[in-house]
Amino acid sequence: MERTEQLDHGQAAYEDPLEVPAIACGAMAESKPYVALPQHQEPLGFPGELVENWQEKAILKLGDLVKNNRALRVYLDACVRCGACTDKCHYFMGTGDPKNMPVARQNLMRKVYRRYFTLAGKVTPWLVGAEDLTREVLDEWYSYFHQCSQCRRCSAYCPFGIDTAEISMAAREIMDSIGMGQKYSNEIIAKVHKVGNNLGLPPKALKNTLEGLEEEIEEETGVPVKLPLDKEGAELLLVTPSADFFASPHMEGLIGYAKVLHESGISWTFSSHASEAGNFGMFIGSYENMQTISKRVAKAARDLKVKRLMFGECGHAWRVAYNFLNTIAGPFDFLDPRYPVPQHICEFTYDLIQKGKLRLDKSKNDHIRLTFHDSCNVARASRMGDTPGGQFEIPRAILRASCNHYYDMDPATIREGTVCCGGGGGLLTDELMDLRVKGAAPRMKALKEVAGEHGVTHMAAICAICKAQFSKVLPKYGFDMESIVSVHQMVSNAIVLTGSTQEEEWNKKAGQAPQGQGAQV
């Protein structure tokens, strides 16, 4: 007994989540996603297949990007190969392939940049590792720039802030421009342009889904919570990743949003025109596609005459919404200036909790011992609330208000240093499963540790991709696929709606124990 105790709390009992592997050259050289077909390429304005003069066009495109993106230019110039980033990428930690070290991934582009755009690379390529853009190099680009989830962990640890995400986005944009796009992302983007969401879910199907959810909530709570679609004149437009409409545990989170919004009394709506928060335009580095998708949101907000704009739980989506939306689809001067544009559902819920306007029965989550996975793009590419780091505190505050048993994972793997789920940035496709499983290794090790030390049973996430990725990957590491939950799923379990069946129980409990556990008011 005592021995087990010791083992459970001893360091040796668990693998270090951030363990650095020995390098294994070429370990992931065969990994690549399906190449886009003409029908995936053309709707996005890209050539259908690899163009004849691809080399010349790619170099021109690279020159164009370098000229128009300060980040790319500075990052290609400034790296000193200090090695600080070499052990920071979850794909390197999971695979040992040295080309998954951020600097080595960047060097795939840097060597071409040097060859064609720098004096040293033109005159003495051997000295600075400059190389011609050959077919082999292009294939390597395709493979390794699709082994980056654009999570920015390397950037956080780089002395110059060099962000591999910027470089992999640029590489994907160049490859798209010569007809060598990625099927998964481009097929999805075409669906958004055509139908309004990543799933290609038409308005009618969406309406049916939402009605089904309304019935489900009413059955559970006795309260007619509405999930309105295209309700003109609503106060607030909620844009959420379309996975929230059908996948699990996404949908449970969506139910949570609906309950919170209902309880707040605000009039709100979804839009069928902008029924997608995710913006895969960023994954492929395409400003134009990203902008077209974002403008659907602006148009929906105008057409529905809403006053506020809010986004659901999604990581890269929140980056685009928080950081880019105002620039590429703004200004949003037609919205109520008293509220941030856009607002995150977590900010909204947190605010209600702070004001004592939500009643949360924590005991409803007593079967759950919870931890929280900081989604990479929420953590390192956005903010919530008024102060830096609000993106870490606000979701945790919501979770702590919703359950009695909350424990953080290894501090080196959360918050600013969070390790990616392994499926972000356009990699959430079945043919990359091997990469996804390996890339999740650091997070899975950290989860095992907290599960062993604190008996944690569930992990909450705040991103549609994280949730989908973990439900696939958790079983490979011996966890139940349902141990991944939405943040608002926890809220949904705990919330006591006015007039609900749960309210009677809550009142009874409050009567018995005036300082009842979980009371927020």
Binding site: I23, V66, K67, N68, N69, R70, A71, R73, V74, Y75, D77, A78, C79, V80, R81, C82, G83, A84, C85, T86, D87, P98, M101, A104, T118, L119, A120, W126, L127, V128, G129, S155, A156, Y157, C158, P159, F160, G161, I162, D163, E166, Y287, Y322, N323, F324, N326, T327, I328, G330, V341, P342, R380, A381, S382, R383, D386, T387, P388, Q391, E416
Partner: protein, 243 residues
């Protein structure tokens, strides 16, 4: 008539000064003029511009991110850069007629710093060779630039402790260069080697990874304030796309 080394070194130093200053200036102008189309600060980030400037300052002075990243690289890196600053400061005496008091006071520290600099460089090079990951990412240039810096430091120290040179004449040469009145340069081999290495470093600076020096000030992930909701970020490209 000057000795041949005087003429050669005068020409070299005029040339590399133009190359160094001109090349660097061009790069800085280029960085400044390249648009930053989107807000990309790595968060958590300061929410004001002053805060962002202070963040860059911390990166430049104490290598904040590197400290979080890797304590050894941080230690060797900050030792080298700190020592270099002291050594350069000490060298100010060779370029001004009347040595200011702070430079005077810094003389002994500048000499210790010379040893620290070479030691840190050797440590960095050892890392580059011994650690497989870092060896893998190193170009020939990454090794050679360390060699060059070590040669500069070692030849400098050699002049101080092994074979002293006529430092008054060296000072005369550089003051002369600065007022376009060429004075003779001593023909000591170590001095000439030291100066040649420095000239080479100056020449490659604006064309190599030494651009990390100006680059860090232009890194959008560090120098942007995190305020996209409070203040609409609308650089030229967004405006153009709208029109």
């Amino acid at each position: 008539m000057y000795a041949v080394q005087t003429t050669i070194y005068a020409v070299i130093f005029y040339a590399v000064t133009v190359l160094f200053a001109g090349g660097l200036l061009l790069r800085i102008v280029q960085y400044a003029r390249t648009p930053a189309p989107l807000k990309v600060p790595s968060t958590p980030a300061p929410v004001t511009r002053a805060g962002a400037a202070f963040r860059v300052l911390r990166e430049v002075v104490v290598f904040e991110s590197l400290y979080k990243s890797n304590k050894w690289i941080w230690l060797f890196g900050i030792a080298f850069h700190g020592a270099l600053v002291l050594v350069l400061f000490r060298h100010v005496r060779y370029f001004v007629q009347h040595v200011p008091l702070p430079v005077e006071l810094a003389q002994p520290f500048g000499i210790y710093a010379g040893f620290a600099m070479v030691g840190a460089l050797l440590a960095l090079w050892t890392r580059r060779v011994v650690i497989a990951r870092v060896r893998y990412i190193s170009d020939a240039f990454d090794h050679l630039i360390l060699l060059l810096l070590i040669l500069i430091g070692a030849s400098g120290l050699a002049m101080k402790f092994l074979v002293r040179t006529d430092i008054v004449a060296v000072k005369g040469f550089f003051l002369g260069l600065m007022s376009f009145d060429i004075q003779p340069l001593p023909a000591d081999p170590i001095l000439l080697a030291h100066l040649a290495f420095v000239a080479l470093l100056m020449a490659v600076f604006p064309f190599s990874k030494m651009l990390h020096a100006p680059g860090i000030f232009f890194s959008p992930s560090r120098n942007q304030a995190d305020n996209p909701r409070e203040r609409r970020y609308a650089p030229a490209r967004a405006a153009a796309a709208k029109a």
